[in-house]
């Protein structure tokens, strides 16, 4: 009985990692850039949701989620325009780009600390304490929101990539930006779209994570585990990001039970190292086509 709950909670937290990992992969595909600020984007989303809640405590959770996603999406749009794209245009070295994304993450974390304080905040809403019983197992209601959101995200991304011009353009640009321009595609627009989507998914992860745990300026570290998840599933693969997230979530929850929760945080990276030793390109490198 306890094992079932462990597995379900592992899969749920895995969905959170998967959402952030999707952001890593989308941006990597679109711009060839590893955006280490992705975890801090998640934090920003969590805090924006918190602020929305404190302004309008009666607002249904779904609205909080949407508001945080839109606001963070706008933020991602601006950051891409003023910071990343100019640096890429100037052909900045990969090492500077990595530092740039790390720097933006640090600035974000510190700004959040200034603005929202150094102490973790919790969402004071019924959802935080709401337990439902399914087949005799007590489960937090937010689990269902998380899994539901992940399912919708996978469906939406699939439709985007296969059924829309925007998605087709995203894929074309990630394969060959120059030839894409000959087709009349603006690669800059594709990178905007990728950043906005990645930021929105990160924000959703932050808001969905909050009722289970808390929001805090230093939770960008969660993003690093999501990075491990994206690597496990092959950076750039949408399908791989989701599966990588679930693997990390499960391994960490179950492994934490076996070897002690104090080692839990290192498990994501242990799994990543193990996968990379056996399969340096990650698990889904063949599957460069989207999901």
């Amino acid at each position: 009985m306890n094992a079932v709950i462990q597995i379900l909670s592992g899969l749920t937290i895995g969905c959170i990692y998967g959402l952030v990992a999707l952001g890593f992969s989308m941006i990597f595909r679109a711009m060839g850039l590893v955006n280490f600020a992705q975890g801090d984007i998640m934090m920003l989303g969590g805090f924006l949701g918190y602020t929305a809640l404190s302004i309008a405590p009666e607002l249904p959770f779904v609205f909080i989620l949407v508001i945080a996603m839109i606001a963070t999406g706008l933020f991602g749009f601006v950051i891409e325009r003023v910071a990343y794209r100019p640096a890429l245009k100037r052909n900045a070295d990969q090492i500077y780009l990595v530092l740039l994304t790390l720097g933006i993450g640090i600035v974000l974390a510190n700004a959040a600390r200034l603005f929202w304080g150094a102490n973790p905040v919790v969402y004071k809403i019924p959802l935080t304490f709401d337990i439902v019983h399914v087949g005799g197992y007590p489960l937090p209601r937010v689990y269902f929101y998380i899994v539901g959101f992940m399912t919708l995200t996978i469906i939406a991304l699939n439709l985007l990539f296969t059924k829309t011009w925007t998605g087709l353009a995203l894929r074309a640009v990630s394969q060959d930006p120059t030839t894409s321009r000959l087709m009349g595609i603006d690669p800059g627009r594709s990178s905007s779209v990728a950043f906005v989507i990645a930021s929105m998914l990160g924000a959703a992860a932050g808001v969905l994570y909050a009722p289970l745990f808390y929001v805090s300026f230093d939770m960008g570290a969660v993003g690093l585990k999501a990075f491990a998840a994206a690597i496990i599933g092959s950076l750039g693969s949408v399908f791989g990001a989701v599966v990588g997230g679930l693997i990390v979530g499960l391994a960490e929850t179950i492994g934490g039970q076996i070897i002690g929760t104090e080692f839990q945080d290192s498990i994501a990276f242990a799994v990543m190292i193990a996968v990379l030793l056996l399969r340096p390109q990650g698990l889904f490198a063949q599957n460069r086509r989207v999901a």
């Binding site: 011009w165 353009a169 394969q175 321009r181 000959l182 595609i185």
Partner: protein, 237 residues
């Protein structure tokens, strides 16, 4: 009049000039071929015409309009499509998607998958392979796909960069037949080729690019008879 012309063009990469003073005209509805040795600057000229590479000086005219400063998006929207050197098929898009993306600039008027029918009629092989990834096609099939993709934009002018490169003789023949067929539909064509004999057969006019400058130009028949062309490009002594 939608003839495409370039006047006194200079262009290059960084500080090195690859094209020095190139002038060339492609009259509406005609096939003009551009010959030249490896490294002469033929692909560079195609990049300039398609908007990928900015001119350092000179001008490009399409019909009566100056298009010298336009980006590739505006140029393809004005009906100039490119079949780039090396085909440049999107390897992880299906054949169908590779064709569809050719219509990207006119996506608002795109009428759905039946728009692909003409490409499939023209190149039946592509229809058999419609759901296969572009990267899994043979060289010849990829060339058909690159031409089909360019045609999906409904171009009035087509820039072809060495479409016969790396193909077996039988396929080379198919490519040139396709070009002749396209020309009969009224499309204006600039054809860059190493295969000078076949190119001069299908073209009405030809230019020879030599280290960034036009060294010869004239009617295709006259070029075929020109001893300099015969020696350097037709392999006749």
């Amino acid at each position: 009049m939608t003839s495409l012309s370039i006047q006194n063009a200079a262009a290059g990469y960084g500080h090195t000039l690859v094209l020095r003073d190139v002038s060339l005209e492609i009259p509406e509805g005609e096939v003009v071929c551009l010959l030249g040795a490896n490294g002469a600057g033929k692909t560079t000229l195609i990049r300039v015409l398609s908007g990928l590479l900015p001119l350092k000086s000179g001008s490009i005219k399409l019909g009566g309009d100056d298009i010298s400063r336009l980006d590739p998006i505006s140029i393809v929207s004005r009906g100039v499509a490119t079949v780039p050197e090396g085909r440049r098929i999107f390897p992880d898009l299906t054949v169908r998607e590779n064709l569809q993306i050719g219509a990207y600039h006119r996506r608002r008027s795109y009428a759905g998958t039946n728009e692909l029918d003409f490409a499939f009629e023209m190149f039946p092989r592509l229809k058999e392979r419609a759901d296969q990834m572009g990267g899994t096609l043979s060289g010849g099939e990829q060339q058909m796909l690159a031409i089909g993709r360019a045609l999906m934009s409904k171009p009035k002018t087509l820039l072809l960069d060495e479409p016969s490169m790396g193909l077996a003789p039988i396929l080379i023949q198919t490519v040139f037949e396709t070009i002749a067929q396209l020309s009969r539909t009224g499309i204006t064509i600039l054809l860059v080729e190493q295969n000078a004999a076949a190119a001069l057969d299908v073209a009405s006019h030809g230019y020879v690019l030599d280290r960034g400058e036009i060294s010869l130009h004239g009617r295709a028949d006259d070029l075929k008879a020109d001893p300099r062309v015969q020696e350097s490009y037709l392999g006749l002594a």
